[in-house]
Symmetry: C2
Subunit: 482 residues, 2 copies
């Protein structure tokens, strides 16, 4: 990834100049990255994008042509531009590991540093984390719907630009996809790549049969034939069977066929019958064509004979919910390491933020199942508690007492004083970690439709701090009016 | 933009090897880029992305580490990898100018060359053209809804990755946005940048008034204040008025305020009244907060007093329709410049392609209004005709006779024998060209809801060719069955 220092909103730079000239240059701040609701009405999201955030921060520096451009805007002072020339991130970052199931209001990334520098980071961090978290979550749903059938991501041509294709393939792999069609993503992140031939291949030969034979000659070990260019059942499948039998006669294993249009339930059942009758019982059927988790779930429920799924547009653009509303909100400000918790009020209760320097504690029962998360202040410790009563921060009468629990803190140190202290795992490890993490959640939380809501409460200490600050702000506004 | 040669689907490379080893290495092909339906149920789309396609093609070459990666996949032959090492595009490309209003089935880009090379181009071309065309079209709708009020694009934090933010800002500008918050897009494409301060700025000062004053001190000429951190009407607007009057007293022009939450109709009317009563009649009100064309249209219809609009997530992700289904379909294949038209059949009539090497002819009436487009074969000429009867290619009884027309061909030569023969215009020129082009369409076609369907027919010659080929394929499938 190239240097993304300039991938920011202008207002970050105008605010930075404002802090610079108003004596707030060394003021410190803590920002939280979090989202307010789970996309797709799902039960969880999978955090992703941290590796790109790390890369962004490690490459942070303004190049001379960046500075020349900013100067040319005629809104920045010379001494401020000079300050940007030496800009490096010198703060601390904590974050949840990629692939971790996460929930609304949990700080996925916590940035602490001079406000001058933390402000600049907002836009790129949100851009990267919002998109990758969204796609990893969507992919996880598609993979859940597909059951044991592997899911191949191949949405690049409909992705929202090159990065969306490449980072989307990465996030989809975290979410459990088995491969991508995207060669650049394969090269960059070591994701297995897959793909065979398109309709144009079939059309370029005098007949479908000749096209199939030519492909089989070239890739006898990896021969998956696209059968719907003319007519799947009347032409494609019969021709594929001919070529498949020829390959098997030569000692190769015929891989199978791909259906890319029509009714996948009906066509796959008919194609399966034809393949089986011809003795090609091991040939697989791949289904594709505008699939998403709902369609896959529904097609499977009808008994379609599909062994693997190719998923494009709906996954790579997260079509039914193409943005995650992750935000970057001030949680505390201070000086020389002494911080004051801050919150943002709003008419809309869901937009009120949680104040202070916080962490996430996940509570597991004896059999290792996740029971609840607590958003707590950083200095709280629950590991020695025998029992703990938690309560919903809105409907405070909803209480639950946890006993016999083990706790785990989700935020890990990523940067300290500007230096990276975390080694990002390989992508395959992230995928496996995510799979195991999801295993620690009840199936009810992972259901595609109307899942059970996983409990995420505030610690009593955080809850009380929030109430105090809310009251103080309301009193202040009232005083101003009088 | 970096080298995007590897931004392709694996199957393009497997097909290339297939053509390479099966004696089809020099076979030639013509591919069309087109979409099948207008997004947002709108009346037109604006073509965009050509400049990025040109850049992609001019930078096409496999680097050594790309070739090493491909070799490591163990599916490609040594001589094929060697062929890739010398790969350059040597064909012809024709395309419609960026910013041109376009319609379903019109070839926006036509690629002619050796199938070996035209195949590789598919994925990246679609990725770039699908996304930018989608966002330019969405932006055009938002700008239409906003009427005379300028629209500022500021969706970067919710864009689907860095490129989506940058290319999206570019496309949004083509569609008529006035500025972007995205500094990198501003630098790269010369788009005006805008932005002032966020809620975190207000929260970092002891009080809102102090925060406003600090901002006014820093940017007295460009002081637009965000008034909804605590309470827009009880705190934000009164404080902004104080600071605005202080600025005006010092001889500066106070720019105005931004409302970013709550009911924009009500708040803007109240804020307008308060500003006017304080004598700040020239201060503007900017509205933002999850806006799209429908909300803007509706808020304006209710008499909101908003002078300019900030539009983020809905625009940059094209939230209600986040993908354009542009495809790249074989239209002809041949050898040594002699081409045979080809089409793809489908059970779904809308998925049958138009065969042959084609062009788009736009017919204007005497007053310069666009009356209809004709997709025709490349060697047809209508400019000398006195009258022409055109007909709908599905409902062929729907006929219309054009007289007194002027014609214009939309496809321009972009590459000839691999050399660029076209100089892309500056982005500002594209925006202005697009604005003028839209002026040549009736308002009925540009209506946001239920627009009039602009006529796009096939020439009689193309229509007949298509019928012939369809019949031939159906007979062939029937013969195969017998």
């Amino acid at each position: 990834m190239e240097n993304l220092t300039m991938l920011t909103d202008l207002y970050q730079l105008t605010m930075m100049q404002g802090y610079f000239v108003n004596g707030y240059r060394n003021k410190e701040a803590v920002f939280d990255v979090f989202f307010r609701s789970i996309p797709f009405n799902g039960g969880y999201a999978l955090a992703a994008g941290l590796e790109q955030v790390i890369e962004f921060i490690e490459n942070l520096r303004f190049k001379e042509d960046d500075l020349a451009y900013l100067k040319g805007l005629n809104i920045f002072q010379e001494d401020f531009i000079e300050e940007l020339r030496n800009f490096r991130f010198t703060g601390d970052i904590d974050a949840v590991q990629e692939g971790t199931p996460v929930f609304p209001y949990e700080p996925l990334i916590r940035v602490k540093g001079r406000i001058f520098e933390t402000q600049l980071l907002e836009t790129a961090i949100l851009n990267l984390v919002n998109f990758e978290t969204l796609i990893a979550t969507k992919a996880s749903r598609v993979v859940t719907a597909a059951g044991k059938g592997p899911v191949m991501e191949f949405g690049l041509r409909r992705a929202q630009g090159p990065d969306a294709g490449v980072l989307g393939a990465r996030a989809a792999f975290i979410g459990g996809c088995q491969s991508t069609s995207n060669v650049l993503a394969g090269k960059r992140y070591g994701i297995p790549v897959s793909g065979t031939q398109a309709h144009s291949w079939i059309q370029c030969f005098p007949s479908e049969l000749e096209a199939f034979r030519a492909y089989a000659r070239t890739f006898p070990d990896n021969c998956l034939l696209l059968v719907d260019t003319y007519s799947a059942l009347e032409s494609g499948v019969p021709n594929a069977i001919k070529v498949g039998l020829e390959l098997e006669a030569e000692g190769y294993h015929f891989q199978g066929i791909r259906l890319d249009s029509g009714d996948l339930t009906y066509l796959s059942q008919e194609a399966r019958r034809m393949l089986d009758e011809a003795g090609l019982k091991k040939a697989i059927i791949v289904g594709s064509n505008d699939l998403d988790e709902e369609t896959i779930f529904s097609i499977r429920a009808q008994g379609a004979k599909i062994n693997a799924w190719g998923v494009g547009t709906h996954l790579i653009t997260s079509k039914d919910s193409p943005s995650l509303g992750g935000v970057y909100k001030l949680a505390a400000e201070g000086e020389q390491g002494v911080f004051h918790p801050r919150l943002k009020v709003s008419e809309n209760i869901s937009k009120i933020t949680n104040p202070g320097i916080k962490k996430i504690v996940r509570f597991y029962n004896r059999s290792g199942k996740a029971m609840a998360d607590l958003i707590a202040l950083d200095d709280e410790d629950f590991s020695d508690r025998k029992s703990l009563t938690i309560f919903d921060p809105i409907q405070t009468w909803k209480r639950k007492t946890l006993t016999n629990f083990q706790t785990r803190e989700l935020l890990l140190p990523i940067f300290r004083a500007g230096k990276r202290v975390y080694e990002p795992p390989a992508l395959q490890e992230i995928q496996e970690y995510s799979r195991q993490e999801l295993n620690s959640f009840w199936d009810e939380v992972k259901r595609l439709a109307n899942p059970h809501t996983y409990i995420v409460d505030l610690s009593s200490k955080l809850f009380e701090l929030k109430q105090e600050l809310l009251l103080a702000i309301h009193n202040e506004i009232k005083d101003n009016k009088n």
